[in-house]
Every structure is written in structure tokens, then in C-alpha cells.
């Protein structure tokens, strides 16, 4: 069968792409390619992918509206920060207020602290979810935004635990980019497996029609809490990775505006599309770096262009988000997943009807 052969080819393409990807990251990692800046940006994109894909699980696949990603990341980041800084460095970091004597004794391996951070995030999500997820879905947005702010206030004030506004420095850095990319591949794989399981179908049923889902015997509350907590778990993992990428955490990093990055990513990639989200994570993370020049003062032909100053990047960013929501609501892929069939048919359509406007894009 021709179809069979086509499928075979596609499988081969997938393997080739995966090998190219692994080779590329390894080359970067071994410093054959790129510089530290490129390595940092790509690692950041890997972390953003984890958080965005898990946010899409909650918002795109289950139809909830959570805006708590920054808060959950803060929980994961601080867990890693508090428990992985070497004991002998603690006193120098907590020089204004002493670290809590119990915590000052505890040092955990990175992996343990990372998972603990994820679990703590999930636990907090369950505590938020139990009262809020019984209510109409819009309340979750308000509650999670509130949570993000409360977390920041706690981080600033619980000085014996978090070192307050000074933040925690000296978080051990990772020897290889593969920590970030490995966890990214693992996380995305797990979320894809979940979405394609019976539980994932139940999530989608809730997104499609809550009343019908409940009439089919699906416990709405239980499944919403489940999805929300799983999303929070991976956001916590993403936060833990961010802490070790940056080597330092402080409360200002987890301003709730950070959540809008992930919102932009999932809207751009397509609510309900994992492959779209992965692609959009890299586009947006790299794009935000490119846009950084808007934040620098710019002098053109002797004139100081007044718009170019710190914060202008975010103006452009917000405008992009608005344009996206107004005109390209389905994002890159809508609810579909990227497939070779899609790519070949897209090219065919392009060559056939060159002048006609493209669909999803």
C-alpha cells in the first residue's frame, strides 16, 4: 500500500528530526556550537515549554482558566533554592535574618528538591482547588491571580525561610543543558500520554460540555482538581529548573505578569495543541530576547527615539497578545497536532492555490 509506505517514511522523518535535535543540543552542550548566551536562552525555552504545555493541559484541554503559573513556579524555584544551596554557604546568604535552624541543617540533592517543589505546588493547587473548583470556572482565574500575589508577599516577608527581598543566591548550576531538555522531553511525553488516556478524554469532555460530561458519569470536581494539580506540579518543576538555570531567586522574578508569557505561548500555539505549544514556547522565548533591544535607549541619526526605554518591550508584547486574540484566535494549530500529513497537505495547497490566503496561519 502507498499509504503504508507513506506512514513508514513519516516515521523515518520523525526519527531523523529527533536525531538532528539531539545532535544539535549535544553540539551546543559540548560547546562546539553557540555561546553561553544561546545556551541560556534555549534552556529557558525548554523550561517555558514545560510550564506552557502543562498550562495548556489545564486551560486548553480541560477548559479551566488558571493564571497561577508564576506562583507555582515560585514554589518550585524556592524549594530548589532553599534545599540545594550548600550548607556552608547558607550563613553568608542569610546575613540579615538567620535561616530557620531546621532548614539550615537540611540539604537535598537537586532531583529530590525538584520533585519536592513539584509536589508542593500540586498540594497548594489542591488546597486552592477544593473551594474554588466547585464554583463557576471564572473564579479560578481570580483565585489563582490572587494566589500569585500572596505567594510573592509571603516570599518577601518569611525572611527566615526565603531571605525576603534579598533572594537566595548561590544555587548550584547544572553541568549540562540536558538537564533542562531531558526534563522537558520527559514532561511533555508524560503530559501527551495523559492527554491520550481515558483521563485525558475526560478532561476534554469537561472542556467540550460540562453538563454532558457530568451526565456521562464524570465527576467534574475530581477531574478538575486532578488536572489543575498536575498542571501545578509541572509548573513547580519548571520553577525549580529556572532557579538552577539562573542560580538565584528573588520574589520579583515571579511577578504575575510572567504568567502572561505562558498565556501568550498557549494562545499562539493553539489552546489544545501540544505541538503548537512546544513550537510557540521557542518562538516566544527567543522572540522576547530579540525584542530586548526595544528596552535599550536608541539613538537614530542623532535623535534619541523616546519610545525606546525599559518596559517598551512589554508594550509591544501586550500589543502582540491583543492582535493574536483579536485576529488569530486559533493560534498556529488550533486544537490539532502537527503531523507530516498536515505539512504535506499544507505544501500541496500552497502550490495549488498560491494566491489564496492560508488557513490556520
Amino acid at each position: 500500500m502507498i499509504d503504508q509506505r507513506k506512514k513508514h517514511n513519516f516515521k523515518l522523518y520523525n526519527i531523523i528530526i529527533f536525531i538532528v535535535f539531539v545532535a544539535f543540543i549535544t553540539a551546543l552542550d559540548l560547546k562546539f556550537l553557540g555561546d553561553d548566551y544561546v545556551r541560556r536562552v534555549l534552556s529557558l525555552a525548554a523550561i517555558y515549554t514545560i510550564v506552557s504545555v502543562s498550562m495548556n493541559l489545564v486551560n486548553g484541554f480541560t477548559g479551566l482558566f488558571s493564571l497561577g503559573q508564576a506562583g507555582f513556579m515560585a514554589v518550585g524555584a524556592y524549594t530548589v533554592a532553599i534545599f540545594t544551596v550548600p550548607l556552608e554557604k547558607r550563613a553568608a546568604i542569610f546575613y540579615v535574618v538567620d535561616q530557620n535552624p531546621v532548614l539550615a541543617q537540611i540539604h537535598l540533592p537537586f532531583v529530590v528538591a525538584l520533585i519536592l517543589g513539584g509536589l508542593l505546588s500540586a498540594l497548594i493547587a489542591i488546597l486552592i482547588g477544593i473551594p474554588v473548583l466547585r464554583l463557576r470556572s471564572d473564579y479560578l482565574a481570580i483565585a489563582t491571580l490572587g494566589f500569585s500575589e500572596i505567594i510573592r508577599i509571603i516570599l518577601t516577608n518569611a525572611k527566615s525561610i526565603t531571605n525576603g527581598a534579598l533572594g537566595i543566591k548561590g544555587i548550584p548550576e547544572m553541568p549540562t543543558m540536558w538537564v533542562f531538555f531531558g526534563v522537558m522531553i520527559l514532561s511533555v511525553t508524560l503530559i501527551v500520554l495523559l492527554i491520550n488516556s481515558s483521563y485525558g478524554r475526560a478532561f476534554k469532555a469537561i472542556r467540550e460540555d460540562e453538563i454532558a460530561a457530568e451526565a456521562m458519569g464524570i465527576n467534574l470536581f475530581k477531574h478538575k482538581v486532578m488536572s489543575f494539580a498536575i498542571g501545578a506540579f509541572f509548573a513547580g518543576i519548571g520553577g525549580g529548573l529556572l532557579a538552577s538555570l539562573l542560580g538565584t531567586v528573588d520574589p520579583k522574578q515571579f511577578y504575575f505578569t510572567m504568567t502572561y508569557n505562558f498565556l501568550l505561548i498557549i494562545v499562539l500555539g493553539g489552546m489544545g495543541s501540544i505541538s503548537g505549544t512546544v513550537i510557540a514556547s521557542f518562538i516566544v522565548t527567543i522572540g522576547l530576547e530579540v525584542l530586548r533591544f526595544f528596552d535599550e535607549p536608541l539613538t537614530l541619526l542623532g535623535f534619541n527615539i523616546p519610545l525606546f526605554r525599559a518596559g517598551f518591550r512589554m508594550v509591544i508584547f501586550s500589543a502582540l497578545l491583543m492582535i493574536l486574540v483579536l485576529f488569530f484566535r486559533n493560534g498556529l494549530l488550533g486544537q490539532k497536532e502537527l503531523s507530516w500529513d498536515m505539512i504535506t497537505s499544507w505544501f500541496n495547497k500552497k502550490t495549488l492555490r498560491r494566491k489564496e490566503k492560508g488557513g490556520a496561519l
Binding site: L193, S198, Y199, K204, A205, D209, I211, M216
Partner: protein, 256 residues
């Protein structure tokens, strides 16, 4: 003995009394119908039975167990499934996914073992798929299994909604106007279809319907509701000749 019993149900929305002193006793294995003019309270009665609304007073019993106040998912798990007056399929999902979702209530292993594809979860998933495909095959929908639900013709969507309710393994099926929007020949087919599934799956069927030919032909017993009150009950002939029924229907002839 009745499989479903409504005992003195009153359902009040603010000042509107949608159901008043409603007593219904549906017998196991029968096809019974609930009729009445628009706004009589028929769908409200279904919503009370399935737990969408908790009645202001009175109780609902299923197999002699009180189910008043239970959530809709618990009631479905006990064996009552429904269709909706305005079709409520999972529109953007495939036909097969719609059926698989209705199997989820039987899933025993947790989300972790399903995510990690543990052997027992794989088995569960495999059984679920086989059972769903068998059901689709039996109902003549198997060739459509990969179609998106909303792309199906109207009649097939109605059928799929019944199939989805069946997939929950319910023993009591509540159908809210299954023939709405169908032409006479489609309605005839539906009548046979309802009969067949009742026999094959040993169901009890309680349905709301406006097509009088269908109701009269198929029902073992008919309840007539008007302004939230039960005004008549009995066989097709008994109900047809009841003066109060004639009055209720003549009074709203333009709507009916």
C-alpha cells in the same frame, strides 16, 4: 415493581412552580412517555431525576434507593443515563471518543497508571475500545467512528447521543425529544430503533416526545403534564380520550 419513582416532587424556581405534586412510577422493562405542551415541565422533570436540579420537596427513587440530592455523575453511575433536548455531544471530538468518554465512569485504575500505560490500564483501555466499537457496530455507526461528532448529519447525531448514553451501561434511559427535527420516515426508524435497543440491552425507557404518532405507538404508559401538574396517565387510548388532555392540547394548539 417500579424502577423509577418520583414521590410528590415539587420544583420551584423563584416564583415559578415548574413541577407540583408530581408522582410518577416507571415500570422496569417498559417504554413509558412523558408528554405535555411547551413549558409544561417535562425537561425539568428529567433534570430533577438526573440530579441537575434538587427538588424543592419530594424524593426520587431508583430501584427503591433514594437518589434525591445526588450529583448527576453519581446518578449516572447508578444506571440512569439521558439524552438532551438540544443535542449535547462533545462536538469537536470524534464519534469514537464520544463513546469512550461514556466508558470512563467504569475506569478502575488511577491516572498515573493510565499515563504510564501499566499493563492493567492497557487492558482496561483495550476492553473499553473493543466494547465501544462493538456498540458502534451494533448501532450502525462504526464506519463513522473517526468523524468529528459535529460533522454528522442531524439524525446520526441524535443516534450517537443515544449510543453515548448506552455506553455508560445504564439500565434506565431518559430520552428528551429523540425525534425532534426528524421527518416521518426517520421517526418510524427511530421507533424501531428504540424498541430494538430496549429488548437487546434490557432497558427501561422513559421519554419525552412531541410526535404523537411515535408516542402512541411505542409507549406502554403515558404521563401527561400541564403547567407542572400531572393531568392524566395511562395507556395511549386512555390518555387520548381524556377530556383534560384534549383541553390542554387544544388550548395550545398553535404551539404544539
Amino acid at each position: 415493581m417500579g424502577i423509577l419513582k418520583l414521590d410528590n416532587i415539587k420544583m420551584q424556581f423563584g416564583g415559578v412552580v415548574a413541577l407540583n405534586n408530581l408522582n410518577i412510577d416507571v415500570e422496569k422493562g417498559k417504554i413509558e412517555a412523558l408528554i405535555g405542551p411547551n413549558g409544561a415541565g417535562k425537561t425539568t422533570a428529567f433534570n430533577v431525576i438526573t440530579g441537575v436540579y434538587t427538588p424543592t420537596s419530594g424524593d426520587v427513587y431508583y430501584n427503591d434507593k433514594k437518589i434525591t440530592g445526588l450529583t448527576p455523575d453519581k446518578i449516572t453511575k447508578m444506571g440512569i443515563a439521558r439524552t438532551f433536548q438540544n443535542i449535547r455531544l462533545f462536538k469537536n471530538l470524534t464519534v469514537l471518543d464520544n463513546i469512550l468518554i461514556a466508558n470512563h465512569l467504569h475506569v478502575k485504575s488511577n491516572f498515573l497508571s493510565h499515563t504510564l500505560r501499566m499493563p492493567w490500564s492497557r487492558q482496561e483501555e483495550k476492553n473499553m475500545r473493543e466494547k465501544s466499537e462493538m456498540l458502534l457496530d451494533r448501532l450502525g455507526l462504526l464506519s463513522l467512528k473517526n468523524e468529528i461528532a459535529s460533522s454528522l448529519p442531524y439524525g446520526e447525531q441524535r443516534k450517537l447521543e443515544i449510543a453515548r448514553a448506552l455506553a455508560t451501561d445504564a439500565k434506565l434511559l431518559l430520552l428528551d425529544e429523540p425525534a425532534a427535527g426528524m421527518n416521518p420516515s426517520e421517526t418510524m426508524q427511530l421507533s424501531n430503533f428504540i424498541h430494538d435497543i430496549r429488548d437487546e440491552f434490557q432497558l427501561t425507557i422513559f421519554m419525552i416526545e412531541h410526535h404523537m404518532d411515535l408516542v402512541m405507538e411505542i409507549s406502554d404508559k403515558i404521563y401527561v403534564l400541564d403547567f407542572g401538574e400531572l393531568i392524566a396517565q395511562g395507556t395511549a387510548d386512555e390518555v387520548k380520550n381524556d377530556p383534560r388532555v384534549i383541553e390542554a392540547y387544544l388550548g395550545v394548539e398553535e404551539d404544539a
